[in-house]
């Protein structure tokens, strides 16, 4: 699971959970691989992200890449910055671990890079 995907997920759909965002990450295995850099895509995706959530999620798994707490102005022109964001969003993969609902503590296992968000029949 990539941090881009993590940024888009919430456990709000569960009974008794109000916000469910962001999910906590417990990373057992991390994998870093090289992915083609597309500055246009990264510039386009940044305004859609919850920036603070990305920064804290990256820090929580030790892959912060010195991302600033606040988004840089005119980041579209800053290739070096876009490359760091690219690395955090697309090149870091949580292969095994867990996503954890911040309110209920429900754990969602990640195996082989694939999070399992299936609830049990008594939770729906």
């Amino acid at each position: 699971m990539k941090l881009l995907t993590h940024n888009m997920l919430t456990s709000k759909c569960m009974k008794g959970v109000n916000i469910g965002y962001p999910l906590k990450i417990k990373a057992v295995d991390l994998k870093e691989s090289e992915v083609d850099f597309n500055p246009d895509f990264i510039s386009r995706i940044i305004p859609k992200l919850d920036w603070n959530v990305l920064v804290s999620a990256a820090s929580s798994i030790g892959k912060n890449e010195n991302l600033p707490e606040d988004l840089l102005p005119e980041y579209e022109k800053n290739t070096e910055f876009l490359k760091r964001v690219h690395h955090v969003l697309l090149e870091v993969d949580v292969v095994n671990g867990e996503l954890i609902c911040p309110e209920s503590g429900r754990k969602f296992p990640i195996n082989n890079g694939i999070p399992n968000m299936i609830l049990n029949e008594d939770e729906v």
Binding site: T10, K48, M117
Partner: protein, 461 residues
Amino acid sequence: MNTKKYLLYFAQEHLNFRFEEINSLLSLLKIEMDFIETPNKTQPYWLVKFKSEDDVKLLTNRSVSLRSCMELWAYSDTIEDLHRQMKQYPYELQAPYMQENQSFKIEVETFCKHFTQKEKVDKLEAFSYLPVKGKVKLKNPEIIFQYIEYYGTDPKSPPENPYMVFFGCWITNGLRQLIQNLSLKTRKFIGNTSMDPQLSLLMANQAQVQSGDIILDPFVGSGSLLVAAAQFGGYVLGTDIDYLMLHARTRPSRITQKERDKDESVKANMAQYNLDHKYLDVLVNDFAIQFWKDDLRFDAIITDPPYGIREATEKIGTSKENCTVSEEHLPTHIPAKIEYGLSHLYYDLLTFSAKHLKLGGKLVCWFPIFRDDYNEDGLPTNTCLKLVANSEQILNKHTSRRLLTYEKIGEPCGDIREHRNNIIDFRSKYYDTREETRKERRMKKAMERHRNRKETTNHKK
């Protein structure tokens, strides 16, 4: 002003998707196209005009239905007239293609009638008056002239003489080769209902996928629709309720394969086609319970939901009241599933798309129908989604599926309750009609046996 005429030459396959695909691409690429004459639904060529030659290249290079396009120099309903026109074709228009340093070849193509190589060479030599100066080169020449004879679309009884003949200069090809490159036969990871590459690419074109788009398939399976979407530059996400499928632990779909390879996955498929940089993630997820955050917007949603025949329509749930899973069973518990009726599933799919598509974004999905019952009013609807394309693929005598393209035209407001069309339960009807024909077949065989027996006893007498 571009006065040139062009011939768009289509592959004679999936005719119902042709108009829809070209329309979608014209709107995606912001190109205008005018018909010189209105084509009928089955003919493989369109005679058209474009504002510029770049437009016809852009369109053809993105089309799956198109084999190729050519700049049309002459066309006629008789061969003699075509040659007459060609002999009068102004030299200054031909000259740029007939320089001394330009290698060339002439291709002869006959549609719907077979000719021997010798006959084709004779047809080619009829053009010996062309003022070509360059050398003939059969492999990768700089200029390709094309001569096409069109004998209609009925291969059983082609006419003596062609209905139409065309001569012109080849410009570029469509994406037919890509269909071969993405063939399911050589794909790493496939499932029982993997979509063939041609239809997958057509779906991506209906969805108007562009470079840098985020695309979701909420019933992703082995990811065949995502392969096509990524091919056109989309970054892809998928979800599926089937854990074993996403982890490639289901029984292999190839008859020759005893067990699945360890490294089969949607991601491996993307890597096979050098599209791994377009792969975001797949999640195991029940479509009826969404984990995407409210403000997330996809550029397009492309999907083939289960129809309840070859893939089950299921969601998590139980008919038991007050059911709880005990602590000790939790680690190995497999959630119970209940039927997810097609009415519910499509209602949810359109509601989800109305919420999670960007404005102007497309939902492209298949919808199974009984051909006798079909009525456009029976298709799923949503006030925020406008049906912009609808083409049929016939599956058998009774059933077909329709490829529906919806465009998001407004943001959903909380207080409108969406109308839910009651969709005929495809699954139960499917098995009902099958049961009937099976029964009929049984009866017919029994009658036959009975008759045969009677005849033999009569003979004995």
